[in-house]
């Protein structure tokens, strides 16, 4: 039995469909991150789970109990918000105490629990501070302590890191994961930051237009995207016009590339082949493969991103090359590009006439 279940949840705001029949089951103790562009419905999903929004249809249940019609304050959810949601008039300790107090717990138990929670987020010595005396990262840790203090059934994190600067974001991300595994709490995290989603979660749910496009492990989502949308949204992709040749082969400007993703396509179809930058291999000179000219080299530490303009298709592709190898490449140099199609994704190309957005010239 899953800890948190969405059952074909649909939610609209006027003409806008935020959730289009969302089905999702979070297993006990699991951390699932919902990833998607803004407006894909991920935050709505979280707010429906918290009870802040009411689903138009469908149901939400926690540990098998239907909570669809339960008001927010009667649900047992811990929520951390994107913006700092601490009560500015209360100290850190009283903020953590807030939920315990509304539950009418005896004060001795409350004090003990507040101390425990602040210890868990390593802020025991700041109990008497006010929120405005804390840094952003500290405020979010207090918010986490406050959410966990009530021993919720599910922890809901609504972009908890997006208002923080890069360094704090990274350390707090690991901190959240550490606390989540220590407490063993079922967690749903919403984020638009793919690095965050892939780095922290047991499973990643990629959402688009109110639907779950793919729900799988971070590695699976990256290496075996279920759709062109997922492929493009997670990581970066090169897009090469191609034609399906056979069961698992496509033709890119005369080069045959073996790719299992062509199996579902009808031979002869025009497609876009989506290939990860690390699946392109560059060789100096004129070896077999697609010919092109290096246009740029961007050093990124371990890898270097090399931009290559292909002769035949006149498209720009990016290749990730190990920096030790890339040292030999300079802009203007002729290279041949070889494509490993094992992880590539086929997308049926739109009809050529729709490719251009300019109106047809008047006759």
């Amino acid at each position: 039995m899953s800890a948190l279940t969405f059952n074909s949840v649909r939610k609209t705001f006027g003409p806008i469909v935020a959730l289009e029949g969302l089905d999702l089951a979070v297993q006990p103790g699991e951390l699932i991150s919902l990833l998607g562009p803004s407006g894909c419905g991920k935050t709505t999903a979280l707010r429906v789970a918290a009870g802040f929004e009411k689903a138009d249809s469908g149901s939400v249940s926690v540990n098998g109990v239907d909570i669809t019609n339960k008001p927010a304050h009667k649900r047992n959810m811990g929520m951390v918000f994107q913006s700092y949601s601490l009560f500015p008039n209360l100290t850190v300790a009283l903020n953590v105490d807030f939920g315990l107090r509304t539950r009418g717990i005896a004060s001795a138990t409350r004090a003990k629990r507040v101390a425990e929670m602040l210890e868990l987020v390593q802020l025991g010595d700041l109990a008497r501070r006010y929120p405005h005396q804390l840094s952003g990262g500290q405020q979010q840790r207090v918010a986490l302590a406050r959410a966990l203090a009530i021993q919720p059934e599910v922890l809901l994190l609504d972009e908890p890191l997006s208002a923080l600067d890069a360094k704090v974001r990274l350390s707090l991300r690991d901190e959240i994961r550490r606390i989540q595994t220590t407490v063993g709490i079922t967690t749903l995290l919403v984020t638009h930051d793919q690095e965050e989603a892939l780095g922290i979660a047991d499973r990643v749910g990629v959402m688009s237009s109110g639907r779950l496009e793919q729900l799988a492990s971070p590695n699976e989502v990256y290496s075996n995207p279920a759709s062109a949308f997922v492929a493009r949204f997670v990581g970066s992709m090169n897009e090469l016009p191609a034609v399906v040749r056979g069961a698992d082969a496509v033709d890119v400007a005369g080069e045959t590339i073996i790719t299992p993703s062509a199996r579902t396509q009808i031979p002869g179809t025009s497609i876009l082949l989506l290939v990860r930058p690390e699946d392109l291999t560059l060789a100096p000179g004129t070896e077999p493969g697609l010919q092109g000219t290096v246009t740029s080299c961007t050093f990124q530490g371990a890898a270097t991103v090399v931009g290559v303009r292909l002769d035949v298709l006149d498209v720009l592709v990016n290749a990730h090359v190990g920096s030790s190898v890339a040292g030999d490449l300079v802009p203007g140099q002729r290279v041949s590009v070889r494509i490993d199609g094992t992880r590539a994704v086929c997308e049926v190309a739109a009809a050529p006439i729709e490719m251009t957005e300019e109106p047809a010239p008047a006759a």
Partner: protein, 302 residues
């Protein structure tokens, strides 16, 4: 501020030079003259405004607090025979005490009713129908636009049908609530917009608090400044209102003051001066007290 005014002054003179003398160089450079000009103008305006406000008050003070016949009020008598006897005599009047009592009751009643109605409304608008905010704001400024005399005409129409209501002194409260609307709604609205009400409400409800607890523990403490200022502004409106009380024949403090003024010119003027000083002091205290409160500060981000 000073910088802005200076530069505006400087531009003005530069244009003047361009018009009259073209590009010919002049002995006192345009910049230095502009600078001096730019300083003189704001200072002059300040002094003029200051005199405009203080002279009548000084005149009031001399008329009401000096026991010198008006014909002799000149420079030579500036420091003679100052006394508060006019005001203390007014304090002794039964009408003064009754008026003060009634006006105080009305002020408290109006503040309570105003906050009771407007705080939930402002929050509800903010949380549920933010699009209606502009409309509500427009509604609340209507008492500004519609002259009180129109309200009074309205009262005349309903008077024969609602004597049981209008006979009570407390019947002024609903009218005062309406008159205070332009001030109170804005004060509350500004306070609500200064904090992230939506997130605070969500956080509170997510932690198991119902609406009452949310209001009591999460919202009202953080809106304290706004609530206090709107209460003060409401009280100020009530303590100064004359027209409606006159029409409904209520013996409020402003009524007494007008009546006393016609009977005892000096003491009446003294009371008026005292009212101005008291209100100003109250507003000054309010401004200082609310500025020091830490809660209304925006929540720091980093």
């Amino acid at each position: 501020m000073a910088f802005v005014e200076n530069s505006v002054g400087a531009y003005a003179t530069m244009y003047a030079f361009a018009d009259s003398e073209g590009d010919r160089p002049t002995t006192p450079t345009p910049a230095s003259r502009a600078k001096r000009f730019g300083r003189i103008v704001p200072v002059t305006i300040m002094v003029l405004c200051g005199l405009f406000f203080t002279l009548p008050l000084l005149a009031m003070a001399r008329f009401s607090l000096q026991n010198v016949p008006m014909i002799h009020l000149g420079w030579s008598t500036l420091f003679k025979k100052w006394s508060f006897s006019g005001i203390t005599r007014a304090f002794g009047e039964q009408g003064f005490r009754d008026g003060l009592k009634l006006s105080s009751v009305l002020a408290v009643g109006t503040v309570v009713l105003t906050l009771g109605l407007l705080l939930p409304t402002a929050l509800w608008v903010h949380l549920r129908v933010p699009k209606a905010r502009a409309f509500i704001e427009f509604l609340t400024v209507l008492p500004y636009v519609i002259p009180p005399i129109a309200l009074v005409a309205g009262i005349r129409v309903i008077k024969p049908h609602a004597r049981w209501f209008l006979n009570s002194d407390l019947s002024l409260i609903p009218f005062y609530v309406v008159l205070a609307l332009p001030f109170t709604f804005r004060a509350l609205d500004a306070g609500i917009r200064a904090i992230d009400v939506k997130t605070l409400v969500d956080a509170s409800r997510g932690l198991g608090a119902g609406w009452v607890t949310t209001m009591r523990r999460a919202l009202i403490p953080n809106l304290r400044t706004a609530i206090i200022s709107s209460a003060f502004l409401t009280a100020t409106v009530v303590l100064g209102e004359f027209t409606i009380a006159q029409v409904l024949l209520k013996r409020t403090l402003p009524q007494f003051m007008a009546e006393y003024q016609s009977r005892e010119g000096q003491g009446g003027m003294g009371l008026a001066l005292l009212a101005i000083v008291a209100t100003t002091t109250l507003l000054a205290i309010l401004t200082l007290a609310t500025r020091k409160r830490g809660q209304a500060q925006p929540i720091s981000r980093f």
